[in-house]
Amino acid sequence: MDTKWNSTGPDEGLEQFVAGEVREALKGAEDAPGVVKLRVPGKTAGKLRAAAGLLALVLGVSLVLGSLGQTAGRLAGGADSSSFGPGWWSTDWQETPSFRREMAQRLQAFLSMATGSDLDWWGTASGDTYILSGDGDTWYTWGSMDTATEDITAEDGAAPDADYAADQNLLYQVIGPENELLYSNVPAGAEITSGRELPEGYNFHLVFRHGEVQIRKDGEPVDVYGDGFYTEDALWDVPGYENFTAGEDVAGVTVYMAVRQEPVPYVQLSTDGGARFYNGLYDTYQYIREMQGFYVLRAVLCVLGIACLAVARLLRTDRRRAEARLAALTRRVPGEVWWLAAILALLTMVFSMDPYTGCSPFELWYYGWMDSSLTDVLRLLALLPANTAALLVLVWVLWLRHITRKNTEPDQRWSLLRALSVRARKYPFQRRLSRWNRLALVLICLPAAFWLLVLTRILGISAYDALFWFTFLPLLLSAVVLCWILRKNAALARDIGLLADQVTAIRDGDLETPLDLPADADLRQTAEQLNDIQAGLHRALAEQTRSERMKVELISNVSHDLKTPLTSVLSYAELLRQEPLEGAAADYARIIDEKAHRLAVMVQDVFEVSKAASGQLPVQPERLDFAKLLRQTLADLEGPISKSGLTFRVDLPEAPVMITADGRRLYRVFQNLIDNALKYALEGSRVYLTLKVADGRAEASLRNTSREELPDGVDLTARFVRGDASRTDGGSGLGLSIASSFTEACGGAFRVETLADLFTAVVSFPLSEEA
């Protein structure tokens, strides 16, 4: 059991330990107050701190979990359970419980040999009193493990102490009740009867005489019995206590034992050419050293780990940046990989042999080596983290997943399943459905086939057995039913697919081909309803197209029919004005002429607005300078503006403000807006024209104070709506409507805001990219 301790642990632990120490020193230098810090630019220092924080976290968690896990595993493994007790960590191996136990067992073995019977320590216990005495049965040697259960008498009559004799780490002399020398391995010339003068290298001396034990260490007597009462906590499991005495047969025996201070390995070459090792005591010595080293090193590593964690905590703000950087990398790892790695790590922990029991936790559980008592369940669980590598993989995989999820949005992460389903969505519906059907078939048929195989091959049930048919027939029936359902599903999948395709076709504009499903199809009714919708849509669209076309034709015709008489009216009004007219007649002729001109303007405006409203206004977009257009418009309208008595406050950027629009239409927009302002602004007031660029848009606004009260809640851009109710002024009522519809035809946005008497028209366009 205790042959494996050197195989794992200390070496890698040491490596971690050294690495940890170095990091520690580095960080200490950086963080300690008063220490002159390296002057690094802030950014680099931040990066360094972030990396250090991350490293400290990784080291700290690894060290703490690794050391705790190994400790828990070794404790749960139970190999050391009897090695703990007073002095277990002592540097002098002769002070440890393991040594004391070994001495007691050797003494017991010698006494057994001397009395010729198997001495059962507890066999003769009566009440609280224990007596060490033989029961006359065959006896066994004690001591080294490999011969522990071997009947020495069966070994060609070799001396019972043959195995002990070679181990010169313990010299012994066993003297029988008749004062005869029974067993000894003391070399010639050496003497071990006196505790004060031992051979060179030996410092521990034990004498069993008259049923009592006397021990001298380095010549000094050792207090063996304490207060003289044997309890379970007693240091020495040897007879001589008041309530633990040697029986008659044992008390007559005298045993001398001397033990080396530092055991050495002894090797004896055997006659068959092999080498035999008689190192029971040396093994014990090695085991004590190893065990002490193991626990002390784990404790040190754990403390170091805690120190690292403290550093990581100090640097946590910087560390989080490093975590975010890390997450930027790990988010490319499909989410399933984390789960897979975690499950693999967990399985490794459950199924891999742990070094302390030589079995995997699963085997321990499966073979019932541990029962289901709470202690055993806890021990079993404690054995899991003994596989430190798997434990750390598990912990770090979960941690990486955690920081990835913490630092990224769900859509930034990568998932194989999601990628697959996204890919699958590319396929037409029916193909996906039939795929699922096939998958279902495989998933159901495979286990069924497997079950049949188990039935016939492994359980050995043949086709002549009634049980076979009992099992096989329902299975066959299920298979038939399954095939029928899948066939039905396939037909349904085809129909659903056709339906989906039809919906797509309608979406893409096919309004003429109806979907014809078989009359017995489940989706027949749905398909017919869809056909109705399609036909309705077709009718509605045709209707709309016709009415659109009629509208445009109507606009053209009405416009033409209006313009023809208007031409006559205008021409004759002009001619009339050229006639010599008397008094009032001249005025009438002038009025007719003026109104006819206004009518002409209105007809043209109506025509254009109607075209714009029905989306028929032709536009020629080009890149132009919005500010320049506004300056040109102002210059163009300079005459009317200067005559109006209004003051124009103009704020236009000097730099070009490039937009894409039809310049002539946009000119009409501002011509109408300025006309509007000239017509409706309060006399002598100021009109503000500004152009601002913000958020990738150029926004021109024209503000003026209205002469009349502005009506509330009226859409001024609606056709024929005007700010004042009277219609006696010169406007057609179409100015804002033209401005609005032309702006939108050019791809801009137009809005009007009224606040008390303040009227604001805003025309905005997206800035044009460099051509």
Partner: protein
């Protein structure tokens, strides 16, 4: 002069009004009320110019125009209620020399008739002038050597500044000049903030001297948001 003009429109009142206006200008007027009549009358060698409406019964104006063009080479002005650019371009590409939208100003119409007739009679001279290194653009002829602009053969009186602008534009027909460039090249100064206004004022004055309808100019046009240009016309 008594030059004979054929006026075609299905609306007799319009024909009448045009006839009165033109007769007051001293022209002789032939009247037709549909495309077929127009075809007959157009063969009269006395007819020097045709004014023709587009939308007419029997034969529409553009088809009549095509047929007339097969027989005779004389200026044709198309009258139409259709005011879209596409309609104008269609009319001009079918062989019309000018395109006037209804309702029109009788005075402007008379001016256009006059202009077309003058150009027609001057046509031979125009070719000769072009050979002599004169810049010819539709109604306009510019002599860069003498810095003289003629519209329909008549010299236009321009101020020095106006002449510089005309010189720049006539030498580069079709090219768009931003106001700043015109200002820099004409006034020889750095472009001031208000140059747009200054340039526009001068351009408006030039238009009044050379355009038949200064409010809807055919020659010096504003390219909104970009600059100004001299529209290029055929001879």
């Amino acid at each position: 002069m008594n030059e004979c003009i054929l006026v075609v429109d299905d609306d007799p009142e319009i024909v009448g009004a045009i006839a009165i206006t033109l007769e007051r200008e001293g022209y002789r007027v032939l009247r037709a009320y549909n495309g077929m009549e127009a075809l007959d009358l157009a063969l009269d060698p006395a007819v020097r110019l045709i004014l023709i409406d587009v939308m007419m019964p029997k034969l529409d104006g553009l088809s009549a125009l095509l047929r007339i063009r097969e027989k005779r080479n004389l200026p044709v002005i198309v009258l139409s209620a259709k005011s879209e650019d596409t309609d104008k371009i269609l009319g001009l590409s079918m062989g019309a020399d000018d395109y006037v939208t209804k309702p029109f100003n009788p005075q402007e119409l008379a001016a256009r008739v006059r202009s077309q007739l003058r150009r027609y009679t001057l046509l031979g001279d125009v070719h000769a002038e072009a050979r002599q290194g004169l810049l010819v653009n539709g109604r306009l002829t510019y002599d860069p050597g003498r810095r003289e602009l003629r519209a329909d053969g008549e010299t236009v009186k321009l101020t020095a500044t106006e002449t510089k602008i005309v010189d720049l534009l006539m030498r580069n027909p079709g090219r768009i000049f931003p106001a700043e460039e015109i200002y820099r090249r004409v006034w020889d100064g750095e472009a001031a903030y208000a140059c747009e206004n200054t340039v526009m004022v001068h351009i408006r004055r030039i238009r009044e001297k050379i355009e038949l309808n200064p409010r809807e100019p055919d020659y010096i046009k504003v390219v909104w948001g970009i600059g100004y240009k001299m529209e290029q016309h055929g001879t």
